[in-house]
Symmetry: C2
Subunit: 213 residues, 2 copies
DNA sequence: ACACACTAACTATGTGCATAGATAGTTAGT
DNA sequence: ACTAACTATCTATGCACATAGTTAGTGTGT
């Protein structure tokens, strides 16, 4: 259901082809929601069948054709309904925390590697999300600008604020995960200090320690 | 793959039936990992076929029978392998943050309701996870105690510390989400203060504001 | 003229998981 | 003796998603 909402959200800004949407999910919007093209194309067809979209064939080059999807009134209504309904939360299912709970089974080096990867992962996410905030603040956000162009000036403030709020929440989450991973690394060091390879162990097996992105 | 690891983790402590495992996922362990019985039973059979477990039929009452699954050497090795390998992280797919990014589409009341539900959700999780930490600290954690009984005293410290570390990370995450939701509520109030139903709006549509659990 | 990257779209297979429901035996309470 | 709740297991359907591969047209550079 959320994929549908994500597609509607993008298509309310302007008509797009499946490929356009796929690229959005690969780049900017993909930092909040992702989907592979193999999921997008069938979903668009289903949405058209449900009357939320209409696909218009437009020429592309000489012989080429592509399908641009336009949101219908029903599509707008469906999106609004989704926005006005309350999400239910699903049960816990987080591989990393499952693993963390049994970390005494891992070799100290493997534990360090995993915690390090966790930190790296969220450091990368944090950088991307912070970049998004910077784009919003400097008025350089492609998506936001196109969205604002469809809105009366009076609603610009809210639209901007919610996008900023979203990314700021993601950054805070990333920071929390980074902290947690560091605490984990400290814990491993403390528990196995008499063991092998504590502070001495030079190169972390997987990646460079401080990749900026 | 993680379900398999979760099942192995539990079964390394002691042999259990599918139903036992299901109950674990419904209660204590379920705060870290959850799975329905319809997923557990087939997975156990697959794991037996793969040689990670052996199922022993034991009588239950007069005519009843149940299957107790015991971990094999190969099962232990598989779990250790999982613990020593590094998880890959999947792409972003978080319905709440997707929604947050487009919150200007929601009616102010719906936005408040959703953010409130978010806060409630994590408040409930936080309470459960904190309870787990309290159990660990007071030596009242069933699972941990049974696990410790299988370990030499020298490894008690690590096993306990990692479990505590896990729940502490979950609590911190919950606190972060609660904070974020509150910032969101403040933002909605600020953006729509001239609008209808700001601070005056008495009963949140869905639930009681401060359910303790 | 050809190679190559990109645009555009589709298909196929398999896993993970939710939801729902069926069957049968057991135990505890009235 | 009855019934309700619990134990134990299994099946079926369908969605969401990952992974991988296919087909065909376009535009650019050498």
């Amino acid at each position: 259901m959320s994929l549908r909402a994500a597609l509607l959200a993008l298509l309310t800004v302007e008509p797009m082809t499946g490929y356009d949407l796929y690229k959005q999910f690969e780049s900017s919007v993909g930092y909040v929601w992702h989907a592979p093209d193999s999921q997008i194309y069938p979903e668009l067809r289903k949405m058209e069948k449900d009357g939320l979209l209409v696909g218009r064939e437009v020429p592309w080059g000489q012989r080429g054709r592509k399908t641009e999807y336009h949101v219908t009134e029903a599509g707008i209504a469906a999106f609004r309904d989704w926005m006005n309904s309350t999400l239910e939360y699903s049960r816990e299912r987080d591989p990393m925390h499952l693993k963390a709970a049994y970390l005494e089974w891992a070799e100290p080096e493997a534990a360090r590697r995993q915690l390090h990867a966790h930190e790296e992962h969220y450091q990368a996410r944090k950088a991307q999300w912070e970049e998004k905030i910077r784009e919003i603040d400097t008025g350089n956000s492609e998506m936001l600008n196109r969205r604002l162009a469809t809105l009366p000036a009076g609603e610009h403030r809210a639209a901007t604020a919610f996008k900023r709020f979203t990314y700021q929440g993601l950054v805070a989450r990333a920071e929390q995960e980074i902290q947690w991973a560091r605490q984990g690394l400290a814990l491993v060091d403390e528990l196995y200090e008499d063991w092998g390879a504590p502070a001495v162990s030079a190169p972390p097996p997987q990646r460079d320690p401080r990749t900026p992105l």
